[in-house]
Amino acid sequence: MSKYYLGIDLGSTTSKAIIINDKDEIIGRGITNTRANYKVAADIARQEAIYDARFSLLKKILEKEVTAQPIYEKYLNDIESAFQFLQFKRRLEHLHSQFNNTIESSDIFADKKLYLETIRNIISIIEPVIRDEYIYGNLGSKSQFFRDVVNEKFSIEVKKLDLAFFEPLMLAFDKSITPVENDMFEFNFKELVYEAMDLLDSKYKGLADTSAEGISVNFDAEMNLLKGNYDHITDTFKEHINRVADYEIHISNMVGTGYGRALLPFPEDCIKSEILCHAFGAHAIFPKTRTVLDIGGQDTKAIQVDSHGLVTSFHMNDRCAAGCGRYLGYIADELNISLNELGSSALKAEKEVNICSTCTVFAGAELRELLNIGEERNDILAGLHRAIVMRAMSLIARSGGVRNEFTFTGGVARNNAVLKYVSELVKENYGDDLKINVHTDSIFMGALGGAMFARRNINADLPSPKAKINN
């Protein structure tokens, strides 16, 4: 039986899970927003990683078919998206009943019938919108966390109603979302995949009747390749899905890390510091790494590692969130734009407005002041991004500077403007020829390091005792 290893990184903003095989290859990833109930956050991330691992196995089994017919891959990805939507739908149904409970049990909602009806209408509007975003791939780079997606759509619908509804309905949302988020849902993989395939029938089978409007030319062309062959393909897939669903993903060992690690129901020797895990993960992907910068939701870490990926020293920000991911979140809220739009807007800047950045909250005030005096939003955003990186640079300097290869990890590494300034400033300060690494899985580095420690049975299988420690 193949052995698998799980790493869970319970961060302050997001919880991540990674499953690796006995060759250190990532086979499953899961991510969710961290919530009051840390165990649920960890379980959801783990559940997602296991589903993702099954899809990875499925793709591996179908590797030959996919190479021969690239359209299969598209279909497989669509199944995965539909599969995710169906999980989302269950939670939405649960949220609906929670809304009903909230309304029934609170005196704030005088005309209960009216509010129940309003909620029903809103859910019936937002559910198909979200479904289409999932199965037609329109989610883009937006957040896919349940709370964020529902919050966005729900707010849009509430704002369309009479103003008097706003406060009670948003209150109902706040009261209802938390218990739903903190509940764990179990799904049957096979049943849910079958259901996902049924859901896709409307997309694929009805293709001939679909007008080209709203569907890309490319997509249309791709779909034509499937036409006529669709029923046969789904039958073949179902056979493989049955195999993959029954396949036991045996987790031989696991390691928990991140801020919430102490709350994970893991044995003590399966809990590891996120500093060690981030460094180990980053070093595994880029073995020549000697300095790691990790910018997470609520902390920034500058870590120096040796040639084995073991930490020699580290520095973290202590007293201020300016310079962390949350700073960006706060600015996005201030500007009423999505977090994912921040970086691309900053990259459109023509100049960088100087921002003080000593404090997240004050940066918000500074931002408003600068808008008042006529500075362009994108120019201010560029300045804000640079300010964050300037703080990170100070932390790097404190930790001993950049040595050899530099790897940038954490959720904020996905922001292109931050990445631009990190690259610029690291090179400016430590040399143009310095290699800077960023990986698409940057946010998962802590979980990856955890999984790798789990595979090495924590301490038992570290590098040879004779190995030289320095460098």
């Binding site: 801020y259 510091s273 060690l276 930490v311 404190r398 301490n459 570290l462 590098p463 005792p465 420690i469």
Partner: protein, 424 residues
């Protein structure tokens, strides 16, 4: 953790000594004894004793207020009186205590100073501190002893002459005037002879951490061990008795291979560390527990040298009484330059076989904190050992973040354990 702690004889002796001093301080009106306010680094205990005066150390009062969890209120009151947030919290705690009636650790009022003896050894804040005390106690004479910084890492004859000149021309005349007694050199020499015995014992005590397991924690217990010499008992027969007793107790632990005593019993040594920087006093027990829970034992610390550095060979010399007082002041830890501090820490790491070094950077203490990052880098590169860095404060409870410090220490200990695994 295997056993509950019972009070050892040395602990009882120390309690009696300090209790006796505080009692003496509470009856100065009756006895007519004069009181000198002065500082721990570069403290002229022997000279104060030679004039039969009693010392009061504002830093000790502040750290005791911190341990008794009342420093927060004192700091608040000092800030209300106009002292800025970033000012040294020892100063603010001290001023807050004075605003609130100058009630000492025993609950009795401390006597007002008859002399402010400003021994300035590398900490600029000391000057500002006593400028404030001068305003609080108008008319009280101030004797300033300016200690030249060891910028070039050595003490020249001119530097010693400068110290002696100040002692002769300013400090001693003021002490004579305040105490009403003539300077008695032979009495000073006798006191200094006792100091030498104490200093020999101190070095032997802190050198026992060479053993595995170390019989003592040279930081968390070390700060108790240096208590008597930092509160004015250096140069007294009581101090000699105390340190002899303490050394005997420690040797018993060495012979029986016992680890350090903590508030929760004996610690099972797993990690050996050198620590640079003062401890946090407001959460002292919690801070200590973060170490002993991981089996981390401090085998040497720079803070325990704050009242005098003796392990590099310095001893008071009774035959050169004023010169030796001057040289003692110039040897103070905070008066050493950075290469000297690096050398001292490096030597401790090597001599006591430490697995790593940890810096506790104190937010409001410039004299200790300045240069610590450079020191860390140099030691890391020179000795190729792991370094850790945490931040807290002396007595301002607002700057001790338990979870932040725990998170960093947990990571640091895991990092050390990992490296020990591969190097064994």
């Amino acid at each position: 953790m295997s056993q509950e702690v019972s009070k050892e004889k040395s602990m009882i002796l120390q309690k009696e000594m300090i209790g006796g001093l505080l009692d003496d301080l509470s009856i100065t009106k009756e006895t007519g004894k004069k009181v000198v306010y002065t500082f721990v680094p570069g403290n002229l205990s022997e000279l104060i004793r030679a004039f039969d005066m009693l010392p009061v150390y504002p830093e000790i009062n502040a750290l005791q207020s911190g341990m008794r969890k009342i420093s927060g209120n004192y700091i608040r009151d000092a800030e209300k009186a106009g002292h800025f947030e970033d000012v040294c919290t020892y100063v603010k705690c001290d001023i807050g205590m004075m605003i609130n009636g100058n009630i000492g650790p025993t609950g009795k009022k401390l006597p007002d100073p008859d002399l402010l003896l400003l021994s300035y050894t590398g900490c600029f804040t000391f000057m500002k501190w006593f400028e404030n005390l001068e305003r609080i106690y108008p008319g009280v004479p101030v004797a300033m002893l300016h200690t030249p910084y060891q910028e070039n890492g050595k003490i020249t004859p001119e530097m010693t002459q400068y110290m002696v000149k100040q002692l002769k021309e300013d400090v001693i005349p003021k002490m004579e005037k305040v105490s009403g007694k003539k300077f008695d050199e032979s009495k000073l020499k006798q006191t200094l002879a006792e100091s030498v015995k104490v200093e020999d014992l101190i070095v032997k005590i802190f050198d026992t951490t060479k053993n595995r397991p170390s019989p003592i924690d040279a930081y968390f217990a070390g700060v108790y061990y240096i208590g008597p010499i930092n509160i004015g008992f250096r140069g007294t027969p009581e101090a000699v008795t105390y340190y002899e007793e303490l050394y005997k107790e420690i040797l018993y632990r060495v012979e029986n291979k016992l680890g350090p005593i903590t508030p929760e019993g004996e610690v099972d040594e797993k990690i050996r560390l050198v620590v640079e920087g003062p401890p946090n006093w407001t959460s002292f027990r919690e801070f200590w527990k973060l170490f002993y829970d991981h089996g981390a034992v401090i085998v040497s610390s720079s803070y325990t040298k704050v009242g005098g550095v003796y392990d590099t060979g310095f001893r008071h010399d009774p035959e050169r009484p004023l010169e030796t007082l001057g040289e003692y002041c110039m040897h103070c830890y905070t008066n050493l330059n950075l290469p000297q501090r690096i050398e001292l820490l490096s030597k401790s790491i090597k001599d006591y076989h430490a697995d790593g070094i940890l810096v506790n950077s104190i937010k409001s203490c410039n004299s200790f904190s300045a240069g610590q990052l450079i020191m860390m880098r140099e030691i890391e590169e020179k000795l190729e050992i792991p370094v850790g860095f945490i931040e807290s404060d002396l007595v301002d409870p607002r700057y001790f973040s338990y979870s932040n410090i725990k998170n960093r220490l947990d990571s640091f200990f895991q990092m050390l354990n990992q490296r020990k695994t591969i190097s064994n």
